[in-house]
Amino acid sequence: MTKRPASPLLFSGSDWNFATLSRTYEAIETIALEELQLDVYPNQIEIISSEQMLDAYSSVGMPLMYQHWSFGKRFVFEDHLYRKGLRGLAYELVINSNPCISYLMEENTMAIQALVTAHAAFGHNHFFKNNYLFRQWTDANAILGYMEFAKKYVTKCEERHGTAAVEEILDSAHAIMDQGVFRYRRPPRLSSEKERERARERLEYEEQTYNDLWRTLPSSTDASDEDGASKAERDAAERKKALNLPEENLLYFLEKNSLILEPWQREILRIVRVIAQYFYPQRQTKVMNEGCATFVHYFIMNRLYDQGKINEGTMLEVLQSHSNVVFQPDFDDPRFSGINPYALGFALMQDIERIATEPTAEDRDWFPDLAGSGDWRATLIDAWANHRDESFILQYLSPALIRKFRLFLLSDRAGDNFCEVTSIHNERGYEAVRTALARNYETGANLPDIQVVDVDLLGNRHLRLAHYIKNGVLLEEEKRDATLRHVRRLWGYDVSLAGVDAATGETRYERSTAQLSE
């Protein structure tokens, strides 16, 4: 639609239609691409009703999802909160896929539609496309296709094996979903048909070229002079090596090595694992992702206003909604529920702009490279691409911002009946506060570190897991036991979990499913 020359406004009033939506989209796109130099996937914008938004909520934000009772539970829960007016729905939902799908709610006013278009279709979209975690660990091109496959596959399994059987596997897989991601090594790509074919060919080739002669070679010399005990040790080392142990991804290990699972059950484990892996980068970049999107929408809406394309009324509505989003209540406020990632992220991004353009002497000390460089756009683009929350905070949280939020560090030791304020926002405390905040955002460090350490496949098939205890944080016992039962169900034989202190190597507890009553 062409703009009427009489009025430069993109829209006025709160009603929207598809013409105003696309006109506004184009104006936003121009600013996003030309002034902010964002690089985005093609956008697909879908208008949905509140009910559909609730649907999307309960199926973890995916447009396609297999069916499971826990999603029903979540739906009932969200629906209840929404109906009671305890919680508003998000204005939008965005999916890391190519094309990037953003859901806009039909109830939004046009001002909000413009805001969320800038926020989701450009802010989040740019982040998804450029951040290294998403680039390396998720596959935006394949995810929708994969989800469709997953949904159909689970339905097919339910038809063939019964809902109860499928539900059992899914329950157990969901229980260890947090332990179903690769944190340190790159996950295997979603293998396409072609790659699977190649793997099969390679195997065939190996079979053809097998030569029995190699087996007759004498083993290395040091094999002879060992006594029994170290032989067992060596055996253990050998079999750990054969199974690639220790393994941090429990779902992957069970999928590949469980002796009791049927092929379809393995495939379901794989589906759950792929989804867990897909969401893992989002958990690690909550602050940055929201910060990036909030900064982008704030910039774009202000530019639109400067250009005279939106009027004061719209801008006021935008600002009102924006300040709600980035509101950070104090710790003693009844509304406080942790640090608001939108507030922190947005403040960090804005601070970078400030340091680049109007640095203080302090900023020059802390950020010699960045301060006064004037090129905040490049810095932000670079930071969005190459950091996750932890490293980003460690790199860019400035003393000015610590003072602005009046952050302080509270140490809590189990056993003491008090908490101690260790550092506050002063010269001596900046470093400590920054490090501690960054560590709080390190997902890998905050999820319990549980790994498969040993299994004797030829003996009693006892699966040994180890929980590496950091800072003495143990597991909730009731839930731990219930989760272990789920692992046992997938493994088929006894499973034990040993709590090993990561610092001292001392074993703090040991729990085996043999001890648990069914």
Binding site: Q52, W69, F77, H174, L407, K479
Partner: protein
């Protein structure tokens, strides 16, 4: 240019399958809650939506979670006002330390209710009553409607177009807007043709031009004003009309002497609820009258009926007399379908049972559509009494009524599953009642 997709018209209830799975999962817990509700609530309330607390058992999703009460943690909190390093803050109640508002989700999930639809409630209610599926279905069915002609509408399905009405509108509009008739145009065309055929005369060229202009104008006008316009179209409108239903009154009679304990009352209540559901299916309006009796009978409200005890002997006939009195006073048999259900443990004072049977055989059974008597016995007694006709004096007396009247039903129940057979006969009769209508 982005791809805009309007998803609002997509089918709703995408999560219905998930909801069903969740309900099945939480089944035992929900059943317990619904049963409790039925025990505590009003008879008529069973047939409605119910809010139930979120069941916790069977629906928890365990994961490995860090324990709050162990280890060392460091919290970063915003909004420091007065603290300096080294300050100590006492933990609230030895709980989760500095992050006072960490409670959040865990608690909220416990104390909220979600709403079971009427169907779901009934499913749970029927479960151990062992009703045949057919009957479950017909009980769950809501009032039936019959479409009735009700004037015309401007929108509707193409099959419902009312041609006469549409054409009348079209005709009126064509006249009002001066749509040129085909005859006029043809006459004009003819005139042009004759003029063109005759050799040109002075002034005829100009005339021809005028005529051409006029023809063109008429045809343009004709094109602009369609023969049938969407605004003309009328559809037959139908209105769903509920099928006529009569009124019914349901008498609940119960012995409340001390021999009736909690279990007996619960069974009796389920029996009454079921009868109420059956009746509600067939009648628009149902009144329920509660009559309780010991050695004297009184009409009471529902709460008193189920929850207050009264001491005294047991004279069953007083209840029947009270019922007869109420029928005469308020429910003339020609306007009301009268149903009665009586629950008792079979105790009666000596000599009164005969009076009961004569009351029933006399005026009462003539008035009632259906009379059901349930004798609630101990589970251990089922083996002794189950098959025989022998029993308490009341049972023996009612045997004679049972033989004389086809619409009298009696049975002994000890378990919820025994309740349904009492109604079997009621349903066997249904086809005939429908034919009569």
């Amino acid at each position: 240019m982005p791809n805009f997709i309007d998803r609002r018209l997509n089918p709703k209830d995408k999560s219905l399958g998930n909801r069903r799975r969740f309900l099945r999962r939480a089944h035992e817990e929900l059943k317990r809650v619904v049963k409790e509700r039925i025990r505590a609530g009003k008879i008529a309330d069973v047939d409605a939506e119910q809010g139930v607390p979120m069941p916790a058992r069977g629906t928890d999703e365990p994961t490995f979670q860090p324990a709050r009460t162990s280890g060392q943690r460091q919290y970063i909190l915003p909004g420091n006002k007065e603290f300096t390093p080294g300050d100590r803050i006492p933990k609230p109640g030895g709980g989760a330390g500095g992050a006072g508002s960490r409670a959040g989700r865990g608690q909220a999930e416990d104390d909220f209710q979600f709403v079971l639809s009427r169907e779901e409630v009934l499913d749970l209610f029927f479960e151990d009553l062992e009703l045949p599926d057919m009957i479950k279905l017909s009980l769950k069915e809501t009032v039936s409607y019959k479409p009735r002609r009700a004037g015309f509408a401007t929108s509707g399905a193409p099959t419902n177009i009312n041609v006469g009405r549409t054409m009348r509108n079209s005709y009126g509009r064509r006249i009002a807007l001066h749509r040129p008739r085909r005859g006029d145009i043809e006459a004009l065309a003819k005139e042009i043709a004759t003029l063109e055929a005759t050799p040109p005369a002075p002034g005829s060229g100009q005339r021809l031009e005028e005529l051409h202009g006029e023809l063109e104008r008429l045809e343009r006008r004709r094109r602009r004003i369609p023969y049938v316009d969407p605004v003309d179209i009328r559809y037959n409108r139908f209105e769903p009309q509920p099928l006529p239903n009569a009124n019914a009154v349901m008498f609940c009679l119960m012995d409340v002497s001390s021999s009736m304990g909690e279990r007996e009352k619960d069974l009796a209540k389920r029996f009454f609820v079921l009868l109420h559901l059956f009746l509600k299916r067939r009648y628009d309006r149902i009144d329920i009258v509660f009559i309780r009796h010991t050695d004297e009978a009184r009409e009471v409200d529902e709460d008193t009926f189920f929850y207050s005890t009264q001491s005294g002997g047991t004279v069953v006939s007083t209840a029947l007399e009270e019922m007869q009195r109420i029928i005469e006073e308020r429910y003339p048999a020609r306007d009301w379908n009268i149903y009665a259900a009586q629950a008792s443990d079979g105790d009666n004072i000596a000599g009164d049972s005969e009076r009961c049977s004569s009351l029933l055989n006399g005026p009462l059974m003539r008035l009632c559509q259906y009379y059901a008597y349930v004798e609630i016995i101990d589970e251990r007694e089922t083996e002794i009494f189950g098959a025989t006709d022998n029993g308490t004096s009341l049972w023996r007396a009612y045997r004679t009524v049972n033989e004389a009247w086809p619409n009298f039903q009696m049975t002994r129940i000890a378990r919820p599953a025994d309740i349904y057979p009492v109604f079997r006969k009621l349903f066997a009769r249904q086809p005939t009642t429908q034919q009569r209508k």
